[in-house]
């Protein structure tokens, strides 16, 4: 008797080999099951990018065609002029003494595209640098040097705690419980308390939130954080501005009508023991700062038809010479932004987005 299972079938034997049939079924079912498991269909308790975006939608409603977070914003464009000073730590072309076109976006956080500008203290700047050879550098920055939480799980817990109740506002008890359970929010909260929001998108500094790796010409890694520091002097928001629904947008348009706005890209270089995976912790002030060049913003346009509308400002899209750190927020941002982008582009394709009021001028 042969032991080779693939040997020709003995003549005359017609019984159905049930065991072998079951084995085939088991193999096919096991591989199919593994696929379904990896796709996350059988583990609904797992925190996925879809669940994060679903929670944004639960909190602020679905606004077809708009980003699920930082929904309210305005498109801008200009260029970045490198000066070569950062080329010692990164081989990225953008840091050489060259001009790189930039498509950017100013926004406020939250999923409501027609929220009043005064409703939040946070402003954001997103940039897409278009390098030669099809390379891009995308970054999404906030006007706070530290982030409120340092893990996707805590970010999700904050979203759940911020869900508006019947009064239209988050339940203060739930927020209090969240902050009590998350002491890592302390540095962010005290920074916001000590720094009144700026009167303009144009006079705020913006910080890259996460640490990144700069790779130099020899392949050596330097951990960095970056920020955009405005040439326009900071001024706090006024009571009169706060009374206007869209003061940030109006103010920016007026400012750009009388000339471009400039920021300096500052790279802060970590020392070997500085932590690089916790966005709630700032590095000590004495770390070296490199002024890598000047961002010049020349024009703005409404996001409903501006160039920034169709850009996913995924902060892990980086040119050669920059790489993500192991900060868990970075991977989570990348995957959640993709879900938001896919949903809103599908709405755009289905013509649902046109039914929405434009973000600008809608009172």
């Amino acid at each position: 008797m042969t032991t080779d299972p693939f040997s020709p079938r003995p003549r005359g034997r017609q019984t159905i080999p049930l065991f072998r049939l079951a084995a085939i079924g088991a193999v096919v079912a096991a591989i199919g099951g593994a696929f379904v498991y990896v796709a996350g269909f059988v583990t609904p308790h797992r925190l996925t990018p879809q669940r994060i975006v679903n929670t944004f939608e639960a909190n602020a409603g679905v606004h077809p065609g708009f980003r699920r977070n930082h929904a309210k914003g305005v498109c801008v464009s200009g260029y970045f002029e490198g000066n070569g000073q950062a080329s010692d730590i990164s081989r990225a072309d953008v840091f050489k003494a060259v001009r790189t076109p930039v498509i950017g976006r100013f926004a406020i956080p939250g999923g409501n595209p027609s929220a009043p500008d005064a409703s939040v203290p946070v402003r954001s700047m997103a940039l897409d640098f278009k390098l030669p050879d099809g390379q891009q550098w995308r970054t999404g920055m906030n006007n706070t040097p530290v982030f409120i939480v340092n893990t996707p799980q805590a970010f999700y817990a904050q979203l759940v705690a911020s869900k508006p109740d019947a009064t239209g506002k988050p339940d203060p008890a739930k927020l209090k419980a969240f902050f009590a359970a998350h002491p890592e929010t302390g540095p962010f909260l005290s920074w916001v308390k000590g720094h009144p929001p700026s009167s303009s998108f144009g006079n705020a500094a913006y910080y890259g939130i996460n640490a990144f790796r700069a790779i130099d010409a020899n392949g050596k890694t330097h951990f960095v954080r970056w920020s955009m520091v405005p040439e326009t002097p900071y001024a706090p928001v006024t009571a009169e501005e706060k009374s206007q629904h869209d003061f940030l947008d109006t103010e920016l348009r007026d400012r750009l009508a009388s000339g471009p706005l400039r920021w300096h890209l500052i790279l802060t270089v970590a020392k070997p023991d500085d932590q690089t995976t916790d966005a709630t912790q700032a590095w000590p002030e004495d770390r070296p700062h490199i002024d890598a060049g000047t961002l010049v913003i020349e024009r703005e346009s409404a996001q409903s038809d501006g160039d920034c509308r169709d850009i996913n400002y995924d902060p892990t899209i980086l040119p050669d010479g920059l790489k993500p750190s192991a900060d868990p927020l970075l991977a989570a941002r990348s995957s959640a932004y993709a879900v938001s982008y896919n949903r809103r582009t599908h709405e755009e394709a289905q013509g649902l987005a046109s039914a929405q009021p434009p973000a600008r001028g809608h009172e």
Binding site: P8, V38, D320
Partner: protein
């Protein structure tokens, strides 16, 4: 020298067994990377794009091999409808193996994303930037991937049925050459 009519050519068998694990890995990588927000997202995404382009190159070579080499006939005692389905499924495989990387590449092009392979190497866009086209291609990428996975499961089940139950030489025609 008499031709071996019972087995696929060595080049066809080599390409089959090289591509099989790559394509299966690709399907799991794809479905996994969009469902995780851990650091696996970055790792899998970095593998997905260059591996997809590698599969596009391999399937192009394999298609030429398929057109220029004899394929062994299916056994005479196999029902006609099963033979038709077997042939059809092979052409479905070729169509999907070409379509998946091309749709992925086009989708990234339409979305304005860099098509990053490794280091400073990026591929050029192959369709114009258009967010509506992106949305269509993004859905197509998922639907075709599920179709490819279903075709693979059916192919696996059929191959094992031939190898373990019919034992009619169809499995060995791809598994090995002439003794």
């Amino acid at each position: 020298m008499s031709a071996d009519r019972k087995h696929f050519s060595p080049s066809a068998r080599f390409l089959h067994w090289l591509m099989a694990p790559l394509v299966i890995a690709m399907l799991f990588i794809g479905v996994g990377m969009v469902a995780t927000l851990s650091s696996w997202h970055q790792t899998l995404l970095a593998i997905h794009k260059p591996l997809g382009i590698a599969i596009l190159v391999l399937v192009s070579v394999r298609f030429i091999v398929r057109l220029t080499h004899r394929t062994p006939p299916l056994p005479d005692d196999m029902p006609r409808w099963q033979q038709h389905i077997a042939h059809l499924s092979h052409w479905v495989f070729y169509a999907l193996l070409f379509a998946m990387p091309l749709v992925g590449w086009s989708m990234l092009s339409a979305g304005g994303f860099p098509i990053h392979l490794f280091g400073p190497v990026n591929l050029p866009p192959i369709v114009p930037q258009d967010v509506r086209l992106y949305a269509l291609l993004r859905s197509a990428h998922t639907v075709l991937a599920l179709l490819l996975f279903a075709t693979f499961l059916a192919h696996l089940g059929a191959a094992m049925f031939h190898g373990l139950i019919r034992r009619d030489g169809v499995f060995s025609s791809m598994a090995k050459g002439r003794d």
